[in-house]
Symmetry: C2
DNA sequence: ACCTGAACACCGTTCAAGT
DNA sequence: ACCTGAACACCGTTCAAGT
């Protein structure tokens, strides 16, 4: 993922610049929200004219892809190469949820943008390689990848929501909701959905999926319990 | 959900207007994408000055909540009251995925906005009531609601992505991706993630979760198979 | 009660011009 | 090669004014 050396500061400056710009953009999103990020504000924060940014990114969409790449990097932190494949896979999906917690305002980029840059494709490649090492063929890899990614993305967005950080928070704050007269069911369930309970629920969901994966690897179908 | 009568056209015009505006907004989102919806364009489409809309919605966020309410209505279509609770629940979550397919550009509203209007809270109330009728207590309802909603939302966004309709489609189109030299794993998995395969994968994921629900209702823990 | 038009403070992006 | 500043065609929203 890196070949150091032959990298004098003046020579390889462009990729470095891109990264510095994307990092500042992520910083601004973290502090002020995704909605308020603009090329003009980002330029100002970097002490540069807004239009200068277009020299490094073709447009705002490409800049956001740059921010996404920073988040994707975080998906592989702490991976232990010697760990069994299923354990490494679980770690990746737990990391993705952590991104939702650490970068709630930026997480929507993970959930809604497709991964179509080289760096993000390389991440997919390594991830799918791990599925294969676990013993899944292409079909099963696709299936569990989709199920896991779907679940984790939805869980991540819920995490963002529970922290009250999605666009334009107003009116009812669900966390403290209480109206047992008109909404008895909502009122009794809300305490079980507080931010502090989401850890356990997320683990429960992952357990569900990873149990199915283990069973399938052992040659038992999903309904083997019946 | 409706008490007709005492509803002369002139008397109850405001709520009707709101709905007409929201419906036109959804129409514009469906045809041109969420990004390009603006108060000005919506006004023009309705043959009215943009600023008139502010008489019916306090701001754009409230308008988007109005659009969300239209989508939430679609989540309960085709529900058969006499069906067993688990079957009704499954139907709701299948409907949610159908919304992602029918309104791909609008679906991000479902996935990223919190439900905080009266109408959406009423939907939650009915949904959680169904969990209770199935036999779940508040804790289990919260847990399976979160897991199901997470999975379905993530799956919905994937559905949107696979249809190439998220913000600013460029560069690599994953559906036709092929580069077995540099990305062998991605290349072999991509055919299994085509739009035509997502039906089966979605059903597989739902089966996983609903099997766990059935087992828990029968008093068997999640790991009862071991 | 409902709608308008001008105005304010912003956007993303293009382009010709500077060094 | 890199940056700038003016300009274009937009935004959401406020507000005083119209009927």
């Amino acid at each position: 993922m890196s070949q150091p050396g032959k990298d004098t500061k003046s020579q390889r400056r462009q990729p470095l610049e891109r990264r510095v710009i994307a990092e500042k953009a992520l910083e601004l999103i973290d502090s002020d929200g995704l909605e308020t990020l603009s090329m003009r504000r980002l330029g100002t924060a970097l002490g540069v004219e807004a239009m200068t940014l277009y020299h490094h990114f073709r447009n705002k969409a490409e800049l956001l892809d740059g921010v996404l790449e920073l988040l994707v990097e975080e998906m592989e932190v702490g991976l232990v190469e010697s760990d069994p494949p299923l354990k490494r896979l679980r770690r990746v999906f737990e990391n993705i949820r952590q991104i939702a917690i650490r970068h709630p305002s930026a997480y929507v980029l993970v959930a809604t943008r497709r991964f179509r840059t080289i760096a993000t494709l390389e991440f997919y490649e390594r991830l799918l390689q791990t599925f294969r090492e676990a013993g899944f063929n292409a079909e099963a890899s696709a299936r569990y990848f989709r199920v896991l990614a779907g679940f984790v993305n939805g869980a991540g967005l819920a995490e963002v929501g529970s922290r009250g950080l999605q666009p334009d928070a107003t009116a009812i704050i669900l966390e403290d909701f209480s109206d047992s007269e008109n909404f008895p069911r909502v009122t009794e369930v809300v305490p079980h959905l507080r931010v502090t309970k989401l850890d356990r629920i997320f683990a429960f969901g992952l357990d569900l999926i990873f149990s199915a994966m283990e069973m399938e690897l052992r040659g038992l179908g999903q309904t083997a319990c019946e």
